[in-house]
């Protein structure tokens, strides 16, 4: 690995003293992030459990209530998130190849797609509020002939709300990554924050991959 000693030093200045080498540090960070993702899976898992229990008790409610959800925009959002997963994978690839401009460019697109997702969500929520479909006891919509209708929507709001919060957090993280990348913090020998943020983002995508059919596509 040739280069001036200044380059070599810069390439190693991320190495923390308790790690033997850069590789051990990188693999440890990835392992740590995977463990964190496991906690996210169990966190959302509780919500999916509530969904499943109530669906098993009130299947006709779910079928009826799901018609209030706009399948078209839900599908668009699914495509948007998948696209953002693609671009974040491309961002990591750019970092691996030391193409910092490509890294920043791909991060920008990912952030933009995430914003599109949130905007579509905003319009979906606004439309529902307009109809009186609020969570919990504030529900006033008359259009569904089922006395437990508010429970479906409460679960809907909890699941998409917590998911949306995770999207917002992801946007924040990626803005920070762009900032660091512009300052030259990343190169092909060190792009760990990009890698682990990417892992987080892919999980957010995976959660939506399950949310979409379970909420929007009930027959």
């Amino acid at each position: 690995m040739s280069g001036t000693s200044a380059t070599i030093e810069k390439r190693l200045d991320h190495l923390q003293h308790h790690f033997i080498d850069s590789d051990q540090q990188f693999e440890s960070a990835k392992l740590g992030m995977w463990i964190f993702l496991a906690t996210e899976i169990l966190f959302f898992g509780g919500l999916f459990a509530a969904y499943i229990v109530y669906r098993s008790w009130y299947p006709e409610l779910y079928i009826q209530a799901s018609t209030e959800l706009n399948t078209f925009w839900g599908a668009i959002n699914t495509g948007v998130l998948i696209g953002s997963s693609l671009t974040v994978a491309m961002a990591i690839r750019s970092a691996q190849l030391n193409q910092i401009k490509g890294l920043i460019y791909n991060l920008y697109i990912t952030i933009a797609l995430a914003f599109v997702f949130m905007v579509i969500k905003y319009f979906e929520y606004a439309h529902k509020f307009h109809l009186g479909i609020y969570p919990g006891e504030y529900y006033t919509f008359e259009g569904i002939a089922h006395e437990k209708a508010n429970i479906f929507f409460s679960i809907y709001y909890m699941m998409t709300g917590v998911h949306g919060l995770h999207v917002l957090i992801g946007i924040g993280l990626m803005i920070w990554l762009v900032y660091k990348a512009k300052k030259g913090a990343f190169h092909s020998g060190y792009y760990t924050p990009v890698e682990i943020t990417g892992l987080y983002w892919h999980l957010v995508d995976i959660i939506w991959i399950f949310l979409f059919p379970l909420l929007y596509l009930i027959d």
């Binding site: 308790h18 693999e27 996210e40 509530a50 006395e147 409460s154 909890m158 917590v162």
Partner: protein, 580 residues
């Protein structure tokens, strides 16, 4: 990295040295000032900060317990109204469980010892470790705010529909515990990565100290269970704030569903509390029997088995809640299963002691107390797991006695044992052995006085969390209260001589107990970075059949300079013999 194992015919000279006794510079004085402590990333100091915090909360929880027991001296009101009584037992439970028991061994003792036992310089993510501590503090502040702005009286279990509809600061309290859960998760995450990635050369999985197997199993539980508590508390808070209705029968919801979610975490949580204690027991019993641990793999794998089976039994808290008979039967059967790996451990510890050279120092005394009290607690747990028996004993003092025997008689005794065992390593000071043994005896007597009558009361029908009671139970309650005060005296004595030890204690050598484990082969207190060079381990941590000299670290100089620089030394735990 060149290791002696890879080139078996290479002879390595090892110049052994004893660790520096009574070092002038160590981790406590190498970083100076309050700011250095508050911003430290040194796992040892973080462990000490946790230790001070859990000790503080144990004091608060203990005082609350004494208040409860004093009120229960007579059936009539003594000095508390019923509402205040409900708040006091809620707080006693929540503080003891979330602020003392769950962090005590992993965060306080574990943080200190884990890297030392691995030969590592720190945990994998030191800054995350510090963040875990501050998250714990912030969670505690939210909880204290809840106490002072309305209080809660739901019991530490926050059952709906009461918790979703009552006044008081339930949301603030659940928020505090939600935050605290992150501290627990991040500590577990840190430990798992450290154990996987930062083991010194030679520490294969079969040489891992059982203390670390215990912390590993605990961390797995923390990772998988705590998030479910987080979502449960979030749903409860939303139930209160938005009136969602999934737990409220008035809105068509199901309160038993809350209990399923709550206990999915809270049952594994009790294993988070006890499994680290099991790890400590293995260390202390082996050291003070001067004997290799009996059944290493049985003990190691049983920790993992307990972690796994512990996730399958949560419904045994709900036998009378209205769940289906099918579920109740399945849970009862699985509950019996979870006792098996625990029983295996107890037998293995006894077998370790058999024909060992028993040294009855204070840590060992606590281990004997542990074995006795935890076995009683464990047995009564199995009894409660029997479905038909539980119908009578659920929500009585029998349950209260059971969990105090396992949590206090088990976990707290193990914690005290670990504290006394590693005290010389942490502070470089010894404590007064005479008073230590006296207080252990006082606590043992006080504990049994407090909780043995509660088994009898419970089986005769005295309900738990009740503010008053019928006359037939008064004698039991009074005896129990006296026992609680006796225990209190014991703890006060412990605090006194430990404080004295810090100020004026006799200096400790690096290995006062003659242990073979790695943390004892470095100075007491250790250097800021634990080990000056990476240790290479050849012997196991329980190899008492090998002489002490084989465990001293040394600097190795090899004849070919492959893989390391001239000035870089390599500690090895044993001389490499020339292989054919």
């Amino acid at each position: 990295m060149a290791t002696t194992e890879e080139t078996p015919t290479r002879k390595v000279q090892v110049k052994r040295f004893k660790p520096e006794e009574y070092p002038e510079k160590h981790y406590l004085n190498q970083e100076k000032g309050l700011w250095a402590w508050l911003t430290t990333v040194d796992h040892k100091k973080i462990g000490l900060m946790y230790l001070m915090s859990v000790a503080f909360f144990f004091l608060v929880g203990g005082v609350l317990a004494l208040l409860l027991r004093t009120e229960l001296l007579t059936p009539a009101r003594n000095f508390m109204t019923a509402d205040v009584y409900n708040q006091v037992f809620t707080l006693h439970g929540a503080i003891m469980i979330f602020f003392f028991l769950i962090p005590s061994v992993p965060a306080a003792l574990g943080n200190f010892i884990l890297p030392l036992q691995l030969g590592a310089k720190d945990v994998a993510f030191p800054r995350l470790n510090l963040a875990s501590f501050y998250i714990y503090v912030i969670g505690a502040l939210f909880t204290l705010t809840a106490i002072f702005t309305g209080g809660i009286d739901t019991g530490w279990t926050f059952y709906t529909p009461y918790s979703s509809t009552t006044g008081g600061s339930v949301a603030m309290m659940t928020l505090g515990i939600f935050i605290l859960g992150f501290s627990s998760i991040l500590t577990g995450l840190n430990f798992i990565v450290t154990i996987h990635k930062l083991r010194s050369p030679g520490i294969t999985w079969n040489k891992l100290p059982l203390n670390l197997w215990g912390l590993y199993a605990t961390s797995l539980i923390q990772i998988l269970a705590t998030p479910v508590l987080a979502i449960t508390l979030l749903l409860l808070t939303m139930e209160r704030v938005l009136g969602i209705g999934i737990f409220d029968p008035a809105l068509g919801g199901d309160p038993v569903l809350y209990q399923h979610f709550f206990w999915f975490y809270s049952h594994p949580a009790v294993y988070i509390m006890i499994v680290p204690g099991f790890g400590i027991v293995s260390e202390i019993i082996s050291t003070f029997s001067k004997k290799v641990i009996f059944g290493y793999w049985a003990i190691a794998l049983s920790s993992l088995a307990i972690a796994f089976i512990g996730f399958l039994v949560w419904g045994h808290h709900m036998f009378t809640a209205g769940q289906s008979s099918l579920a109740a039967m399945v849970f009862s059967f699985l509950t019996f299963l979870v006792g098996i790996p625990t029983g295996i451990k107890i037998f293995n510890w006894l077998a370790t002691m058999y024909k060992g050279s028993i040294d009855l120092k204070t840590p060992m005394i606590y281990m004997l107390i542990f074995l006795f009290l935890f076995t009683i607690g464990g047995f009564t747990g199995i009894m409660l797991g029997a479905l038909s028996v539980d119908v009578h004993l659920h929500d009585t003092y029998y349950v209260v006695a059971h969990f105090h025997y396992v949590m206090m008689g088990g976990m707290v005794m193990a914690f005290l044992g670990g504290l006394h065992y590693w005290w010389p390593k942490m502070f470089g000071k010894m404590y007064n052995e005479f008073w230590a043994k006296i207080s252990a005896g006082i606590i043992f007597i006080g504990f049994n006085m407090t909780f043995l009558p509660q088994f009898i009361m419970g089986s005769q029908g005295m309900p738990r969390r009740y503010y008053n009671y019928i006359d037939q139970f008064q004698a039991f309650h009074q005896f129990s209260t006296i026992g609680a005060y006796v225990m209190g005296v014991g703890f006060v004595i412990i605090a006194a001589y430990l404080l004295h030890s810090l100020l004026r204690g006799e200096k400790a050598s690096s290995n006062p107990w003659g242990s073979r484990a790695l943390e004892w082969q470095t100075s007491s207190p250790p250097d800021l970075h634990n080990f000056k060079h990476t240790p290479v381990i050849i012997n196991g941590p329980y190899d008492y059949h090998k002489p002490m000299s084989e465990f001293q670290l040394g600097i190795a100089t090899s004849h070919n300079g492959h893989g390391h620089h001239e000035e870089e030394g390599m500690d090895v735990a044993e001389t490499e013999k020339e292989k054919a």
